[in-house]
Symmetry: C2
Subunit: 277 residues, 2 copies
DNA sequence: TACGGCGATGCCCGCCGGGTATCGCCGGGT
DNA sequence: ACCCGGCGATACCCGGCGGGCATCGCCGTA
C-alpha cells in the first residue's frame, strides 16, 4: 500500500464525498474513484458503501481510516525528523508564557555548556506540544504534569511547585491571603476557563475558551474568568491581576519530554544541562 | 514520501550495498540508486555517505532507518488489519503448548455464546505474540505475565497460578516433594534453557536455545535441561518428565491482550466469554 | 418527466519508474 | 606500473500507470 493511496482513502473517508475529497487533494474526481477502487481490489475488501445518495464507511473502512491515519502520521513524523536531523539545531516546544524563567535558565545553562547547537524555541498553544513531539516537528518539549500527557514519551523532571489563583485585582477574593479550590468552584462572576483538549477542541461551559497565556491573563484582567497556575507565573503578572496561593491545588511538575529512542547528542547535552549535570 | 521509497531506503540502509539491496528488492541497481538520490533531494539531506569503498549511514540516515521501519510497520499493520476486518472471524495468537486447557475452555465458552464467529488459533513461538499483535496479523493474543510484555496493549487477566519445575524423571531432584529456585540455579547437568528475546535472538549461555514447548519438553525428557512452568502444564506431561512445585517462583498470570482502540464486536464477545460474563 | 447531483467508465496523454548498457573511480593484486 | 574487478552514477529508452476530460448511468426531487 502506497502512502498516496492512504492519503486518498483518508480524504474520501473524512469527506464521505468523492468530489469534495478530490477538490481537497487537488485532483479530479475520476482518478480518485479509480484509485479507491484499485485499493479495494488489492485489499480484497469493500471499504466504502456507495449508496445512490452519498458514501458510507464499511467496517473495514473504519479500520483503515483509524489505522491509516496513524500510519500516515508515522510516515510524516519519519520525514520531519529526518529533515531536521540533516541540519544542526534543536527545536524545543513550550507553552507560550508558561515557565518562562525556568526555560530561560535551562537555555542559558545549555548554551554555556560545550558543543551547544542553536535551540529554536517553538512557543505553542495549550496541549499542542505532545502532538508536535509525536509528529516529529520538535525534538523535545517542556510539559507540565498533571496537565499534559506524557504517554509514550521519555521524560526528565525539572521542577515542582505549588499553584496560585490568578484573580482580577478588583475581585473580593483577591484580598484573601489564601484560598482553597472549593472557594473558586462555580463562581458565577468568574466562570472557569475552558482549556483545549488534546484534539484542539474546547469543552462546553460558560467560561471563555483559552488558547494561550496572554489571552488568559487578559481575560482575567478584564474580570471575565480566573485561573489556577503554577507559582512561577508571579514573575510575569500584570498589575491588574492578583495571585493568591491555593493550598489544596495539586503541585505542578515541569518535565522535559522527548520521543523514546531519539537521544541525539544535542538532546543529551540539553538534558545534562537541565539536570544540572 | 511514498512507502516504496521508504522500503528502498531501508533495504539499502540495512545492506549498506546498493547491489545487494536491489537484489533483495527484485530490481536492478540503477533505478535504486536514482530513487535514493531523489529521496535525498526531496528531503534536502544526505542519507548515505558513498565512499569509494562501500556505503555508510549519515546521522539523518540513521534517523530515517529507525523512523522509517516503524512507519513501514504501521502501514503494514494498517493493511493487515483492514484485510482481516473485511472478512468474518477472529485470529488469536497463543504460545504453542501453553495454557492449552485454559484456551480450550475459553474457546468453548465463546463458541457457545451468541454471535460467535470462527476463531483461527495461531500457535506461535515464544515471545512472538506481541509482534504479531503490533503487526496487525492477529486480533488478540494469550500472553503470560511476567514473561510477555503488554506495553502498549489493552489487557484482561484470566487466571493466575503457581509454577512447577519440570525435570527429567530420572534426575535426583525429581524425587523431591518441593523445590526452591535456588535448588535449580546453576545445575551443571541441567543448564537453564535460553528463551528467545523479543527480537527472536537467543541470549548466550550453556543451555539449549528454545523455540516452543514441544522442543522444550523433549529436551527435558532427554535430560539436557529443566524448566519452571505454570502448574497447568501438568495436564500434558510426558511420562519421562516429572513436575515438582517451586515454592518461591513468581505466580504466572494468563492475560488476553489486544491493540488499544480495536474492540470489534467479535473481540468484545470473546472478552465477555473470557471473563465469564 | 425533466433536471441535477454524484460516482463510474471510456479514452487519451505525459511522465515517471524501471531496465540495459556504460562510465568513472578507486583499490588491490601481479 | 598496470590492469582488472567491484561498485555506484549516468545515459538512454520504453512501457505502464496516474491523472485529466468527456460522458454515462442511476436515482432522488421538483
Amino acid at each position: 500500500m502506497e502512502t498516496r493511496e492512504l492519503r486518498y482513502f483518508v480524504a474520501v473517508a473524512e469527506e464521505l464525498h468523492f468530489g469534495r475529497a478530490a477538490l481537497r487533494l487537488g485532483m479530479a474526481q475520476p482518478p480518485l474513484s479509480r484509485a479507491i477502487a484499485r485499493l479495494e481490489r488489492r485489499l480484497g475488501t469493500v471499504l466504502l458503501e456507495r449508496d445512490s445518495r452519498g458514501v458510507a464507511l464499511t467496517g473495514a473502512g473504519r479500520v483503515l481510516l483509524r489505522e491509516g491515519r496513524t500510519a500516515l502520521e508515522a510516515v510524516a513524523a519519519a520525514e520531519a525528523r529526518t529533515r531536521r536531523a540533516g541540519q544542526p539545531g534543536l527545536v524545543l516546544a513550550a507553552k507560550a508564557g508558561a515557565s518562562t524563567d525556568l526555560l530561560a535558565r535551562l537555555l542559558a545553562a545549555y548554551e554555556a555548556g560545550p558543543g551547544a547547537v542553536p535551540v529554536d524555541v517553538r512557543l505553542c498553544q495549550y496541549g499542542e506540544q505532545g502532538r508536535l513531539l509525536r509528529r516529529g516537528e520538535v525534538d523535545v518539549a517542556l510539559l507540565h504534569l498533571p496537565f499534559d500527557s506524557t504517554a509514550g514519551l521519555d521524560t526528565e523532571e525539572l521542577h515542582t511547585e505549588g499553584q496560585v489563583a490568578l484573580l482580577p485585582a478588583a475581585h473580593p477574593l483577591a484580598a484573601r491571603r489564601e484560598l482553597r479550590l472549593a472557594d473558586l468552584a462555580d463562581l458565577p462572576d468568574l466562570p472557569a476557563p475552558r482549556y483545549p483538549r488534546a484534539d484542539g477542541t474546547h469543552p462546553d461551559g460558560p467560561g471563555p475558551a483559552i488558547r494561550d497565556h496572554a489571552q488568559l491573563h487578559q481575560l482575567i484582567a478584564l474580570g471575565r474568568t480566573c485561573a489556577v497556575l503554577p507559582e512561577s507565573c508571579r514573575t510575569q503578572l500584570r498589575p491588574d491581576v492578583t495571585p493568591v496561593p491555593v493550598l489544596d491545588a495539586p503541585p505542578v511538575t515541569a518535565v522535559l519530554a522527548w520521543p523514546p529512542d531519539s537521544r541525539s547528542r544535542p538532546l543529551a547535552a540539553l538534558l545534562r544541562a537541565a539536570t544540572g549535570g
